[in-house]
């Protein structure tokens, strides 16, 4: 494998890994703090991608679409927690699985009613539509670099939020001991709502950001959801650093698997999970919460 191809695969791995991280971090936070297993989390990624498609054709600019989309996603998450998820906290995991599965069906059909079942492309912004030449024959799209950069910025902001702010302190406390936070007089309902809205916004942002690179299509959320479960299992439930490491690991295994073992690339990620389960059944980062 020559160097420029290798470099392109590394960039692809990082890009895929970081996108997975954005989706999985919301999933792991929602589970860590509220104890809810949310199958509909992939739907937020799908809704984000479709929002990018619809809003960018309305506003004429992907940047405006993403800015508007994030605001909508936060509002949507906030309302959805109040209207639906707040009823799930006292249910067992089995019922949470079924209720959020029902929600997936509803979201998919509403999407089908609103925009149909066709595959749509989303244009990258003109400023980022160029490609960088690599070596003599290869090129790499600027927009894909932008995806990685944007994910890094958002990921860094997330770490600052969790580590350096008062809200982050409450979230971390909530993940390690929910009852204690409640008894310290913090309004747990508002905290839950904020964390949920944050998780929805992260997943929708990832979907919007990746829309020009992946195009938008029905069922795109489910694929992401199941890989994110693998990320969460490998990283350790409730651990955001664990999600980062696991997501990058999966990014590399999946991307290089497609190059070296194209017939078996779909399986490799799960084999990785099996090996890690044999070694550490509770994930890599079980000890350190968030």
């Amino acid at each position: 494998m020559d160097l420029s191809i290798f470099l392109i695969q590394v960039l692809n791995s990082v890009q895929y890994g970081l996108l997975l991280f954005l989706v999985a971090s919301g999933l792991t936070l929602i589970f860590g703090i509220m104890g809810v297993i949310n199958l509909a989390h992939g739907s937020f990624y799908m809704l984000g991608a479709y929002a990018a498609f619809t809003l960018s054709s309305l506003t004429g600019s992907l940047f405006w679409a993403i800015a508007l989309g994030v605001v909508l996603a936060v509002a949507f998450g906030y309302v959805l927690e109040w209207a639906f998820f707040s009823f799930l906290y006292r249910r067992d995991h089995l019922q949470q699985v079924l209720l959020t599965y029902g929600l997936i069906l509803v979201f998919e059909e509403l999407r089908s009613l609103a925009v149909g079942d066709d595959v749509h492309g989303v244009a990258a912004p003109p400023a980022l539509a160029a490609s960088i030449p690599l070596g003599t024959t290869m090129t790499y799209p600027v927009y894909n670099l932008f995806i990685s950069a944007a994910c890094l910025v958002v990921g860094a902001l997330l770490f600052v939020l969790l580590r350096r702010t008062r809200l982050g302190m409450m979230i971390r406390a909530g993940a390690s001991n929910r009852e204690m936070v409640r008894s310290l007089g913090i309004d747990i309902n508002v905290l839950f709502r904020v964390v949920f809205a944050l998780g929805v916004a992260l997943a929708a942002f990832a979907g919007m950001l990746n829309a020009p690179a992946s195009s938008v299509y029905p069922g795109m959320g489910n694929q992401v959801l199941i890989i994110c479960f693998v990320v969460v299992v490998i990283g350790g439930i409730g651990s955001v650093p664990g999600a980062l490491v696991a997501a990058l690991l999966i990014g590399f295994v999946d991307t290089f698997g497609k190059v070296f073992l194209p017939d078996y690339s779909g399986i490799l990620v799960y084999l990785l999970m099996a090996i890690i389960l044999l070694w550490r059944p509770e994930g890599l980062f079980r000890e350190s919460a968030i």
């Binding site: 249910r91 089995l94 029902g102 059909e109 779909g266 084999l271 389960l277 044999l278």
Partner: protein, 321 residues
């Protein structure tokens, strides 16, 4: 209450025996399909309702067996013998369940849900990405298996009525087998694990081995259901082991009421008939299904076979203020 619960399964059996005399071919084939799904749902109930293991990857065992039927034949047009292909398919599913169970049972709770889902997805990709069973399109199966006994055909699977009675026999057999299993020491140990695993361990039970045995048995029975589903449909494709299939069978178990086997049968009937009804109403029937699932799980957490319990609990809560 218990007389009604004792009589209902017998009454249902009687109705199922009489159905082919009263209904047309369409309903005979529909109910045969439902009975296959009921066997599938009962196998999952052994895990979810009895042992307390929420598996979201049960379709892997169902689907693998149907692919084994296809792979056992030299080509699509050659009929294989039931006596060799069915044991082979069931054994393959049991073996897969043993391997996946050995890994997945190292985890518990919500990890277990995610890990079973992930492993079933891996099996899905094996058949989806490789040429093994026709890739993402699947394969047609033009010849149904033969059941010869001493040079004489015991059963003709091309005949809807004969297939129907064969499936009724399978359903009854598996129901009786699981009932006996639950009444045995093994079954009591599984229920003990569900209510308090730590105590069972303290009593000296190797709970991991018990859970793995239950997981393997459930996988084998799901395999039998998957085998006959492929026989009836005449084709296999990766959708048979997709995670939607796993979620649907879990819904059947919960819809009917987990833990008492009969609930799984009721759930399978309700789910498939609703699917038929909704899809005849509108192209966007999954919207109705999703809404129904949400309402049913919210309002009837104990399932249809425990409606009276749910009602009494609700009344007690109202009166208690």
């Amino acid at each position: 209450m218990s007389t009604a619960r004792r009589i209902l399964p017998w009454l249902s059996l009687l109705m199922l025996i009489l159905l082919p005399a009263l209904a047309g071919k369409f309903y005979i084939e529909l109910v045969a399909k439902i009975m296959i799904m009921a066997v599938f749902a009962m196998s999952l109930d052994l895990l979810v309702g009895v042992t307390g293991l929420v598996s979201l990857g049960h379709a892997a065992f169902f689907g693998l067996a149907s692919y084994v039927l296809v792979l056992a034949a030299p080509d699509q047009y050659t009929a294989v013998s039931l006596w060799t292909s069915l044991p082979l398919a069931v054994a393959a599913s049991a073996l897969l369940a043993l391997v996946i169970g050995a890994l997945a049972l190292r985890t518990r709770g919500v990890y277990f849900i995610m890990v079973t889902l992930a492993f079933s997805q891996m099996v899905y990709f094996v058949f989806h990405d490789t040429k093994l069973g026709g890739g993402s399109d699947g394969t047609y199966l033009y010849a149904k298996p033969t059941a010869m006994l001493g040079g004489w055909s015991l059963l003709d699977f091309n005949n809807s009525t004969q297939f129907y009675y064969a499936m009724l026999g399978l359903l009854t057999l598996i129901f009786a087998f699981l009932r006996l299993l639950l009444a045995s020491r093994f079954g009591h140990a599984l229920r003990g694990i569900r209510s308090n695993e730590q105590r069972m361990r303290a009593l000296g039970f190797n709970t991991y081995a018990y859970k793995l045995a239950a997981f393997t048995i459930a996988g084998a029975i799901a395999g039998a259901a998957g085998y006959f589903a492929a026989v009836q449909f005449g084709f296999v494709n990766p959708e048979m082991l997709s995670w939607h299939q796993s979620a649907n069978v879990l819904l059947m178990v919960i819809l009917g009421g987990a833990g008492n086997l009969f609930g799984a049968v009721v759930g399978a009937f309700t789910f498939v008939l609703l699917q038929d009804l909704f899809s005849s109403l509108t192209k966007h029937w999954l919207l109705l299904m999703g809404g129904f699932v949400i309402l049913a799980v919210m309002l009837l957490p104990g399932g249809l076979t425990r409606v009276s319990d749910s009602w009494q609990a609700w009344r007690a809560r109202m009166q208690g203020g």
